[in-house]
Symmetry: C2
Subunit: 340 residues, 2 copies
């Protein structure tokens, strides 16, 4: 008998909101028999949407009312102080009280991070949580952190991110010893900022970590390492640059294949050929970033997530609970703390 | 009558060296009647290569002997102290003495920057030179700086980079008022590091600059602004990430089109369709980064540049001389200096 895995969903968050989140929840519930989802939001609206969908087992989805919504452009401090009954806050509270094991939101990233940190706190030995997600590489995927939670990182924070990434990959990816790279502008020891050089020195010393050393921007997609560590400013820029570049290339391909009637015919013939190509690059498959290092599992979905995309984020939450990520992080940091 | 434009080429630099640089020089000389190129390097080897090629007008290319070569992995300090007769150093010396108006090298970036700074010095009002190149966007191209010369940038340096980028684009791109964006992790005023916020405040105040404000990673390829300013660490990561991602996508396309016999046939049909697509993304067309802010024009080619690619870099040097970029920068900074 599989354990029941309980996940709270901020049904109101994101650019699309209920039309994406509720349908995604039903999709995931119909696929995974042992998930129970609590949809948090405007009870009437959520139930109205829910009634329009085909849920196989009614027991798998519950609705919990909340009266407020955090706006996408709201200041984190204002959400924290003024929105104590927001769908986001109530979903996080459910993790805190142990009624669910994880929560998922497509809402305001800053507010989600601030609220999650305030309500759940970080695990012992972890100063600041990091945002991380998987990105496609030539031969699989890479986990990159931090993607924007921490603008100025100390060497100790980068060191902690490396350990967090290592534990996450080891726990989730069926990889007994994932390699960790530290993002720099060159692979020579003399290059980089003081924080990077210090973090490199710290990481070079610890045992029980497969530390590869410095990697550069092009190593990310070559799959040189399983994890890439960067400060949140650099990580955020590279994530958004990547999204923008993929969009541009897809646009260029579409333009090429619609230039004239011959091109349009070749485009039709190319559809089956490019199916796998499109799948490999589809950002929806990679949706669901972890707010790593908290005392509880919190998954951030892309704000513009559609149903397929938001369903991926719920499944990331499900997988992290199933693999007991929080406990594994806790255990690891109790060991690494002694080693320091 | 067009003025003669004189350019020195470090013939020994880069992964390929003479086989790329000398052939590229001949190619450009045959195309541009008013360019004169001085090839600097091992006289015997350079002339041997030169004699194997078809140069229409022998007067367009001269060879200047130098006895040393800067290694691709050599420390900048060692190149500066120990390689006073390197092809790179002699090429830069020719700019300093006024015998040529620009130089081009595919050699060691750190050594080129250190030597150029030492020999040529920066223009009045410019603290540090920046590396910049054009990158493709949805509807044209964007100039990004700094791409890696300066790891930790002060707000004043970012401010200077913005003005340098503005002047370069205005001078080179037939754009009377190019827009300048400052790369950040969000567009709200409260986001970003202290340096970024200070640079934003400085840039918001100056007249005669089309300052757009903050841009994010995805704005680069959307073409939101004509210039994007970032510190050298972030710029270098985004440049290399971009290169790596394009390579990966091209690989995925090739894999898709060779998966089976049907795919291979569609691939053949797609060749003419994808010709323009390939051209738009071809990194060789964008080769040639400017070391901007020096008292003289120095162009850095990608280390792995082939003939077509290195020829682009020589043409960037030619265009910057033809448009009198150094003089325009000098004039601009004498004005901005007074305004501060």
């Amino acid at each position: 008998v599989q354990d029941i895995i309980k996940v709270a969903v901020d049904a109101m968050g994101g650019d699309i909101g209920i039309d994406s989140t509720v349908e995604a929840a039903v999709k995931v519930a119909n696929r995974l028999k042992n998930i129970q989802i609590v949809l948090v939001g405007d009870k009437q609206k959520v139930e109205h949407k829910l009634n329009s969908l085909k849920l196989k087992n009614q027991k798998q989805i519950k609705v919990q009312h909340s009266s407020q919504v955090v706006a996408m452009d709201e200041l984190p401090s204002s959400a924290l102080r003024g929105k104590k009954d927001s769908s986001m806050r109530v979903a996080i509270n459910l993790v805190k009280s142990g009624k669910v094991s994880a929560c998922v939101s497509a809402g305001n990233t800053g507010a989600l991070m601030a609220t999650a940190k305030f309500v759940l706190k970080t695990l012992p030995g972890i100063d600041r949580p990091a945002i991380t997600t998987a990105m496609p590489t030539k031969n699989g995927f890479v986990r990159v952190l931090d993607l924007g939670a921490n603008i100025d990182c100390t060497s100790m924070q980068l060191y902690q991110f490396a350990i967090m990434g290592y534990v996450l990959a080891k726990t989730m990816d069926n990889n007994s010893d994932p390699s960790v790279g530290l993002l720099n502008v060159g692979v020579e020891e003399i290059k980089g900022s003081e924080q990077i050089k210090e973090a490199h020195a710290l990481l070079s010393k610890i045992k029980n970590l497969n530390y590869y050393g410095f990697v550069e921007g092009d190593d990310i997609f070559s799959g040189t390492t399983d994890i890439v560590v960067a400060d949140g400013f650099v990580g955020n820029v590279l994530l958004k640059t990547t999204e923008g570049l993929v969009k541009m290339i897809v646009l260029f391909l579409k333009q090429a294949y619609s230039a004239n009637i011959f091109a349009k015919i070749v485009a039709l013939l190319s559809l089956p050929v490019l199916k796998n190509f499109k799948r490999k690059l589809d950002p929806r498959r990679y949706n669901g970033a972890s707010l790593l290092g908290l005392n509880g599992i919190v998954i951030k979905s892309h704000g513009s997530a559609d149903v397929l995309s938001f369903a991926s984020a719920i499944e990331v939450a499900y997988e992290e609970v199933a693999n007991d990520v929080t406990k594994k992080l806790q255990d690891a940091f109790s060991v690494y703390k002694m080693e320091k």
